[in-house]
Symmetry: C2
Subunit: 347 residues, 2 copies
Amino acid sequence: MMYETYGTLNADKSNAILICHALSGHHHVAGKYADQPKNTGWWDNMVGAGKPIDTDKFFVIGFNNLGGCHGSTGPVSLNPETGRQYGSDFPLITVQDWVESQARLADRLGIQQFAAIIGGSLGGMQALQWSLAYPERMRHVLAIAAAPRLTAQNIAFNDVARNAILTDPDFHGGNFYQHGVVPTRGLRLARMLGHITYLSDDAMADKFGRLLRNAEFQYNYEIEFEIESYLRYQGDKFAAYFDANTYLLMTKALDYFDPAHDFDGDLNKSFARAKANFLVISFTTDWRFSPERSREIIRPLLHNHRNVSYAEITSAQGHDSFLMENAHYFAVMRNYLDNVAKECGHE
Amino acid sequence: MMYETYGTLNADKSNAILICHALSGHHHVAGKYADQPKNTGWWDNMVGAGKPIDTDKFFVIGFNNLGGCHGSTGPVSLNPETGRQYGSDFPLITVQDWVESQARLADRLGIQQFAAIIGGSLGGMQALQWSLAYPERMRHVLAIAAAPRLTAQNIAFNDVARNAILTDPDFHGGNFYQHGVVPTRGLRLARMLGHITYLSDDAMADKFGRLLRNAEFQYNYEIEFEIESYLRYQGDKFAAYFDANTYLLMTKALDYFDPAHDFDGDLNKSFARAKANFLVISFTTDWRFSPERSREIIRPLLHNHRNVSYAEITSAQGHDSFLMENAHYFAVMRNYLDNVAKECGHE
């Protein structure tokens, strides 16, 4: 399991923060590598010295989930039993599995209790699962732009994206590595579709509207509108580096996650185990995991008399808002975490 | 151009209604064929004797648009110059072209002025275009679940669907007919994606939620949730009968349509030509063409002092609502069209 740390673990190991990543995230959360000056961490605006998740106060851990394609063991790794890449032999993984592996990482680092476990989107689901599987191992859970479980519409989008990959002739049942090809078409479609759900209708209208690529319509199937250009660029970029099997596996983990699965579908019962304090944050124009989905997290927590803070942030950026700088959002994060830092002895 | 009529044209030819179809619609609007008792028209709940679009009072015309795959000349037709199916040689068609061809059909039928031109979704755009291209040729326009032009998000969904078809190796640049194959994978993905946008999040939640196909998760890439089963079924069904080139062409017509394109993007200016009376209808949970998109039609009409009636119908069914039975919706249609019938001499 690939991980990266920032800041210093204090003497009583009480100032550790775990950052759970979403679909295409990884261990490189903040900063730049000395030899890769352009490779900035994916949450560098939020995590660092003096930033809301302040590495002067906290020991912050980023990691790449199992099954990922950024250094942790996954479908692209060599299977020691066969000497070939796992491909379709790599098992499906659940959010529960991920939390188990993250808990073992915490054990290795000697961290018994995190100051906070933080995640956005799919990362927020992992943070929630932590609070259920290991209620004593964190003081705070921050679930941002998350949901307790996917809706039919969420699953539907995932299913279309997966089918694009699964039916790409270059997928070869997941063993495309041996064929020297990549299911580029499928990955590209999956990412284009994903991007539509990450952005709000309004943000797209503001940024692209009906802007044309050329002065006049060409009346062919090439790019006519700037939004098409943007989506195809995002799709191509993603298809060039992301592993198709990892994409499939991560969307399945999203689909499967349901804390109430063993509690007759009742979130009130499932969250009875939770002991942490919670900060839940949603964004007004996020239609992938709308504010209503955050309230689905809050209700069972309140039902169980947990401490919950909630902020619904006005933002035009849709689901992507959780990765973007926003004064209100960052102030909420900073204020909450400043109080968490005080619990660890920071003034 | 394939068309079908219902009811009787009156002596002064004042009771004709034209029904413009949406993406997968066609000429067979209502009723059943004697030899095909299961082949019910796509709007049979709305059109017929005693129904809101009452064929006892009106002479109703359904047609298949040019470029379609239900009998009108389209990419599947034989190109007389080559003796082969048009395929990629078939030109792109705009909403303006469609209205031109529909006007020629009206000429052939001797109809100078329609009592009403009615369309839902893409059909609504054709009805709007009629009011701009031939302001004197109809007394009423009924635009249902429509929009004056696509947003960036609308175009983005179309672009993903088109790319699924265009990049399917079985598409062969549009000339798959000669290869004896069909780009089934692409058509299937396009339709699955389309269906997500036709249904509301709530309707999907009510109908499918997280219902499982089997008693327990299988942890593989087969169908786990009922929503996946539904989408794949819809995708397969569509791919088995719909022409891929027609699908591409129709989504492009949607993208291109913008009545304000030649008016500096100003809908107020473009709708200055319209003379008809308008009934605009939207549905509360339609997020493909939301009620706000209907208001974008209404505002320029009011700006130009046109008669506009508007109904925002409470419905859980999303964009699909325009095809579904709904007491409030049907009452609005019936009452409006009863008044239109009176203008044609019906009591």
